[in-house]
């Protein structure tokens, strides 16, 4: 595969173009062309399609798009371009998986195929959602680490420290980032799972300086750092600096890509192709060990509307059918803790991604923007469901995309209109309202609610194996 320093060199010497020209004349024009050429059409009647030919056309469109567009470096205002051979070589040389974590918690995140009985890797946590205090962060992180089926944890983000808001780029960010890592490591130890990998290093950091600085306070090379693309198809020197640092240190990164429905890629069809093209960018430019998509709606900031479920499903299928580089998809729900809305959203999302061949991260509950609206129960549910429809589905047969589609069609009408409604009505409750602050246990009200939801979903033909909250 082309070297990282060759990528950096191209960021410094590639064709110059303005950002607006890149957005409007290159990305927008090319996405529209390949969507038409490969006849990609959104089908709201089938949010989880089973059309292999369509999935393969999406892949071809994405490769062609990336070949013609490349990645834009906002710092140098230059395009990083690759040849067809370089893209092909990178995909052929890509890692099939990555070992993460240490000791008893060491596990392998591997690529999967659609309708696979292979166990999906379960990264269960907060996706960087903000918490109000270090105490809440410690409690929630310990709860995540205690989920027996999890393989890794995404930590919350510490945004208030000693009563002060942390500020990006300031010394407070550096200190908060360090505390974030130390508190989570201690939470994992208290949960009896000291080797559990942190999957979103480091939630509180924004700059390369904070990321690198805090790495010396408990991050391990068996953890994962986030290297997030700038919308759309862009990076900057800061991201490339993190990539250079991680390469030198032997650390792993994920190719975080959160394109927006309604943004430069346009509607669902363009978003699908663009998101799939990020598979190449994550591998070649971010130098990550897997792709990490979490597309959301421009207005509703979640990834669970019918159109986005279709995108998640087909992106999963396109990548997993045509590439052996793993993907870990990330859920952003609109509903919060102890709302039916969240559990319905999570069900449809897990069905679309896991049957499409994904590993999963759950997730950004209540859009991951509301202080303390998160508990360990929400990701645990998604993890249980993911196993129930894949490795634990019985008779060596996983749930098919067709079966998943039928269930999705039944559940989607129960929540999709609420996405457009008042967000306060679906926010649910805060951690401190749902958990006993002395015993770290969920309230009986939430336990009953959880078990009732599992019964409801179970009636649709899904057999849950576990009952962690009996």
């Amino acid at each position: 595969m082309i070297s990282l320093f060759e990528v950096v060199k191209r960021a410094m010497t590639g064709p110059i173009c303005s950002e607006k020209e890149f957005d409007m004349e290159i990305v927008v024009a090319e996405i529209s062309r390949v969507v038409d050429k490969y006849e990609i059409k959104y089908d709201p009647e089938n949010p989880i399609p089973s059309d292999d030919d369509l999935a393969d056309r999406v892949w071809k469109a994405a490769v062609e798009f990336y070949l013609n567009v490349g990645t834009y470096c906002t710092t140098s205002e230059r395009r990083i371009l690759f040849s067809e051979k370089e893209i092909e070589d990178a995909l052929n040389c890509a890692n099939e998986g990555v070992w993460l974590g240490e000791g008893n918690e060491r596990s392998y995140l591997k690529y999967r195929k659609p309708e696979s009985t292979e166990r999906p890797f379960l990264s269960l946590g907060a996706a960087g959602a903000p918490v109000s205090t270090e105490d809440i962060l410690s409690r929630v992180a310990r709860g995540f680490a205690e989920i027996p089926i999890s393989n890794g944890m995404t930590t919350p983000g510490l945004t208030i420290m000693d009563g002060r808001r942390t500020v990006a780029g300031s010394p407070l960010e550096m200190e908060a980032t360090i505390r974030n890592v130390q508190l989570v490591r201690e939470a994992c130890r208290r949960a009896g799972r000291p080797g559990l990998p942190i999957m979103n290093g480091i939630a509180t950091s924004g700059s390369a300086a904070a990321t690198i600085g805090a790495s010396h306070f408990g991050m391990r090379t068996s953890d994962i750092w986030e290297l997030g693309a700038i919308a759309e198809m862009k990076v900057d020197y800061d991201l490339l600096s993190k990539a250079v640092y991680l390469k030198a240190w032997g650390g792993n990164s994920l190719g975080e890509t959160g394109p927006v429905l309604g943004g430069w890629f346009g509607g669902p069809e363009g978003l699908l192709v663009g998101l799939t093209a990020y598979h190449m960018q994550g591998l070649m430019v971010h130098r990550s060990v897997f792709q990490h998509p979490f597309q959301t709606h421009f207005k509703f900031q979640c990834g669970t509307g019918r159109d986005l479920i279709w995108v998640f499903s087909l992106h999963s299928q396109a990548c997993s059918r045509n590439s052996h580089w793993p993907v870990l998809s990330l859920l952003y729900s609109a509903g919060g803790p102890m709302t039916e809305m969240y559990f319905h959203e999570a069900t449809v999302w897990v069905l679309s991604t896991v049957t499409g061949g994904m590993n999963i991260e759950v997730g950004g509950v209540a859009k991951a923007i509301n202080l303390d609206y998160l508990t360990p129960i929400e990701p645990m549910f998604a993890g249980e469901l993911a196993l129930a429809i894949s490795s634990e589905s019985g008779k060596n047969k996983a749930m098919t995309r067709q079966q998943a589609n039928e269930i999705a069609k039944e559940i989607l009408p129960r929540y999709e209109d609420k996405i457009k409604g008042d967000p306060k009505l679906i926010l649910g409750k805060k951690y401190q309202d749902l958990y006993d602050m002395d015993t770290h246990r969920p309230s009986s009200e939430y336990v009953d609610f959880y078990n009732d939801i599992k019964k409801e979903i179970g009636k649709m033909g899904i057999k849950f194996r576990y009952n962690f909250l009996s």
Partner: protein, 215 residues
């Protein structure tokens, strides 16, 4: 070309972002004795339609930007032809907008800019990672009515508050209205930092700005 055909052409060209075609249609309109202001009003109506399509998911950011760019070129062509004392921006105002310091997320801000253009605002977009001073200096230079500040990260939200503190320190607080937005931002936050307004999406931001200008 009849007036009806010209207006249809005008609409088509804005929706397709066809600047050359739009200028030709505008020229044809002038030949048919449509006044520059009438043409600007018709084009502004089309822009509002594009905004509505975006709102209901029938159009997306690329269509908005293309339409706004074409509209801007045509307005610039017509403005010198307006009678003295009349301006194309009579109903709207001027806004300086940017993503705050430390924040590289600009998609939401871009959508707001496109929406503001559809309702006739003159906009100066200072881009991402904009310090309070950068926004304020730009607002002074542009003679803006409003400063708009977007933040997508909880750790960059405090910079929205810094803008207000800087305005106060420079005795400029009364000169500009400040509106804030972005994923984690809400009305409570806007109240806490003393912002003049908050909007949860681009369409609401455009309406908020209109209210601020028109009272």
């Amino acid at each position: 070309m009849s007036t009806e055909v010209i207006l249809i052409k005008l609409k088509e060209c804005i929706i397709n972002g066809d600047k050359g075609g739009l200028l030709a249609a505008v020229d044809a309109g002038l030949s048919e004795n449509l006044s520059p202001m009438e043409l600007i009003d018709k084009m502004t109506d089309v822009m509002k339609e594009v905004g509505e399509k975006f709102e209901c998911g029938e159009a997306f950011l690329p269509e908005m930007v293309k339409a706004a760019d074409a509209w801007k070129v045509a307005v610039a062509f017509l403005e010198p032809k307006l009678p003295e004392g009349q301006t194309a921006q009579k109903k709207a105002g001027r806004i300086v907008i940017g993503t705050v310091q430390g924040d590289m997320h600009d998609l939401g801000k871009n959508i707001v800019v496109a929406f503001l253009k559809t309702v006739g605002f003159e906009t100066m977009d200072v881009g991402i990672d904009a310090s309070p001073s950068k926004l304020i200096d730009a607002a002074q230079e542009f003679n803006a009515d409003i400063i708009g500040a977007s933040a997508l990260l909880t750790t960059t939200m405090p910079y929205q508050g810094s803008i207000i503190e800087h305005l106060e320190a420079r005795n400029l607080r009364d000169k500009f209205k400040v509106i804030v937005g972005g994923g984690p931002v809400n009305q409570e936050w806007a109240d806490e930092i003393g912002a003049d307004g908050y909007a949860s999406d681009a369409a609401k931001a455009a309406k908020l700005c209109m209210r601020m200008i028109n009272g």
